[in-house]
Symmetry: C2
Subunit: 207 residues, 2 copies
């Protein structure tokens, strides 16, 4: 079975949430169940069982899930049982916030390089670790380091062109902070961080 | 019909994407159709038609959708045909990036106040407009300004407690940048901006 085709993406998108919930529930004990997980996440117990059953048998009727085991399984499914290298493209306000955030490396996502087109930023060191390099070095950095994931924080008007370059240089997944939809080949994984979309979702339920 | 109950949230979540796509397609003409919208967004034409049919009849067989009309309708459905006031709670790196981002006000979401608990930040002005105020003024600001939406950018360890205070003071929707799941009453709308979750979604498809 080609899992990449068979499992609906909407279920895949929920697995990181499950993992986060398990990390918190772990403090209370060694096991959990679909009811507790569901209450924690705001999904029904049936939804939880249905989601997880897509990937295999993780629990037993009556005894629930072993938290440690289920966490390791989900990490393996998501390919996050190993470290990932990332490059940050764009070192403005958002880029700086990203470089100063320790949550990425805590979760095995390591920013190994950051580039910007502004010569005034090149050479600057952020957070004692990341030295900003010239955008001209982009291809060389990606290929030398074997980087597959890029965080894109360039202005909206430059995002599409820069994303195309990243793909040309070998990037397979892009986390984009630019408020535009990127048009890239189907095999490139794109996720958007866009607070306006989230706010527009919230307001549907307000008033 | 209570639309808040009847329409699946997953469809509501796609409406902001439709709106963004329509804003771009508008440059090319006055009308579009489910095929073009679907290609643009990476959904099937059938999915687009099914989603939009939940809210009413927006297009005619054979002639497609009038972009201007459909945009206005979606804005009305999402309650974004008017301005919203927001308060920013936490003015660290992410908070500063948010205050410097013009995309919120361009989309009628206005940060009318920002608060922080650090006395060294209080009184500071960011982006010529937003003066950071003391966290002690939180309740008074929310109630005087009649603010319903908060952006929460405090450290993870403080997020739950702060979110409870926000709800107590009258906040109805929270956009949280803290990497923790908030446990709040069901009628509070919460959205999370969490790049680690997005990266863990990307890696499922890599390797």
């Amino acid at each position: 079975m080609d899992k990449k085709k068979e499992i609906p993406d909407i279920i895949v998108a929920r697995l990181p949430l499950y993992l986060r919930a398990l990390n918190i529930l772990r403090e209370k004990g060694n096991t959990t169940n679909s009811k507790e997980l569901g209450e924690f996440l705001g999904f029904s117990a049936a939804q939880i069982r249905k989601d997880l059953s897509q990937f295999g048998e993780f629990g037993k009727q009556g005894t629930g899930y072993n938290i440690e085991f289920l966490s390791r399984q989900i990490e393996t499914i998501l390919n996050i049982d190993d470290d990932w290298k990332m490059i940050l493209v764009g070192c403005g306000n958002i880029g700086h916030a990203i470089m100063n955030y320790s949550g990425f490396s805590r979760n095995r996502f390591h920013i190994v390089a950051a580039v910007d087109s502004n010569p005034e930023l090149v050479g600057k060191t952020v957070n004692d670790v990341i030295g900003i390099r010239s955008i001209d070095d982009l291809q060389q950095i990606i290929q030398t380091e074997g980087i597959q994931i890029a965080m894109l924080t360039v202005p909206a008007a430059e995002a599409q062109k820069m994303a195309e370059k990243l793909v040309e240089y070998g990037i397979k997944g892009i986390l984009s902070y630019a408020p535009v939809l990127l048009n890239l080949p189907d095999d490139i994984q794109i996720e958007y961080i866009d607070p306006v979309l989230s706010l527009q979702h919230i307001t549907y339920y307000l008033k």
